[in-house]
Symmetry: C2
Subunit: 376 residues, 2 copies
Amino acid sequence: MQRGGFVNQGDVKGPVLIIGTGLIGTSIALGLRALGFSVYLDDPSPTTLALTVDMGAGLAWDSSAPMPELVIVAAPPDVCAQQVTDALQRFPDAIVTDVASVKQAIADDVCQSGSDSKRYVGSHPMAGRARSGAAFADKDLFYGRPWVIVPTEQSTQEAVMIVRNLAIDLGAVPTQMDAHDHDTAVAYVSHVPQLVSSLLAARLLGAPSHALSLAGQGLRDTTRIAQSDPRLWTAIVAGNAGPIAAILHDLEDDLADAVERLEQYSQGSQVGAIGVISDIVAAGNRGVSRIPGKHGQAQRSWAEIEVLVPDRPGELGRLFTELGQAEVNIEDLTLEHAAGKKYGLARVQIDPASILTATEELEKRGWRVISVGESK
Amino acid sequence: MQRGGFVNQGDVKGPVLIIGTGLIGTSIALGLRALGFSVYLDDPSPTTLALTVDMGAGLAWDSSAPMPELVIVAAPPDVCAQQVTDALQRFPDAIVTDVASVKQAIADDVCQSGSDSKRYVGSHPMAGRARSGAAFADKDLFYGRPWVIVPTEQSTQEAVMIVRNLAIDLGAVPTQMDAHDHDTAVAYVSHVPQLVSSLLAARLLGAPSHALSLAGQGLRDTTRIAQSDPRLWTAIVAGNAGPIAAILHDLEDDLADAVERLEQYSQGSQVGAIGVISDIVAAGNRGVSRIPGKHGQAQRSWAEIEVLVPDRPGELGRLFTELGQAEVNIEDLTLEHAAGKKYGLARVQIDPASILTATEELEKRGWRVISVGESK
């Protein structure tokens, strides 16, 4: 891939062949075409292939096409290793990668196949849409999304660089890890959530219809991904059964304990059901706070301003109003009021970037700012 | 509540007292104030009470205030029944309702308390925000949301009408059911999803940090409500333990079966793990399709147009383009192509409201429309 006229090791200059023109394969093809690459397409379905050619994603591969420098296997995970092995054999000079959501099973099969596996590096672009299929492909699908690069012990440095540059050229954020770490990671953040969402949604089959009329955003959010394709997910889970089973086993243990205590509690026993539920919800609070926020950081830290609030009608409201006029967003506010004192203390959580503005504007308007610091 | 000058049975003319000025209580107060009602507020925390008075939600209740006609108890579910009973005794002419997420436990306590429970009708306005507390109150919080009305066997018709009119005046959609049906319903659509989301999010505590960097929308959606307040949810779950435990028990059974098969599968056994996973995801598909869509109906039904597509380059792309020009949104498209035939068959799923337009526009442009009907 040429950048600014420099041709480095790790730049692909020749054709790219994409095997499997579903959502991911076609999106990659459209992205590469937009960058000026020569792209060939192959797919077992002639009509899907025809559609993607019509969409401008590339030319249909046939035996008269030039040999590719890079082959991207975008086939379902259960046929992926075979496609990779075939490509390594058919194209002895090409680097080969794949896009499957599981990596260890594929790497094992490829490395044990007797093919020239040093030219293979696994990929997992973590992007997608609710709808699958070529018709929904988008050249910007990968923009800002993680693209995991998974070399095997045999992969050459050149192969790794080529795949890394592919990810970068498509706007993705490359991150490298070995197959075991990858599969564990996706078990936690993707595969277990999928199965749990499906198990939860399945409960609605037993719900009376008047119940569904009360559905709200919480139910919709927790079951949205339960609309996924059973065939695709069966292949994914089969390819990552070990890590998934381990995490689900721990969940099962916590759930079994909660169910037993709740059943006894509902029959009148005092069995610590309250404590167990509190622990589960609190543990969930801590777990969800580990998910990075919008800008890739863990839960933001807030700044806290402490302001004296005179014990007169309207003063609290005035504090809110004047912070709003200063365009300071209030994340949270707590009030302490000691009986008999003439003041209350308001602790206001705000964006750390607003500290100076908030302090100046409040003092300008006569407020007594007691302290400014980091929120707990 | 006066409508167009008519004063009917079921109209409240006098003051409304709201006990508990958190998110829900304060939002109700703001809504009633905007409609011109006389509203009084009470809360165990003087500073929270002061804040809500400052926000314009009403006047602080004291012994010099006029007797209320309607009392709304917006206290946490574990103190709710006591507050309702006290209100029935303190205000012998008032109708009393509450807003707790559980109804049977509260109704039982109120009816067994010896108070004049015929003036009590339970409520559950199903609205909320991620953030709790008076500072985030909104007079339009209930707009378009379900408001469940739960009379007891003793409630008078007048009491039911007053509470129903309260809901309607705040823009909510009233729906009536008995306490048992209510508690079962919210177990399915709210309480079980909450606990499952918390259990899922808690797994992230054991995840390596490189895993969290791969978090995507699926994880965020399934764990969003895991940010809920442990104290509130402990009180809710304790008040609805029976129905919740029953649903969770079924989930536990399905989960245990899946875990066992996945563990055996990962150790090399052929134990039907594939079939079990496929069944779980498919059952989840069916479950989630029972959730009403945006306009209150179950999963929309689509129309399907079958169009002959000549086997020439560019024809599929032309079909897409010309449907777009006719402003017909394509929900899904599948293609069949029989080898050796000169045509393929495109099945295009579209909004049923677009059938006539799509058919006319395609035929105008020379397409052969084979059939039009309801999608499977």
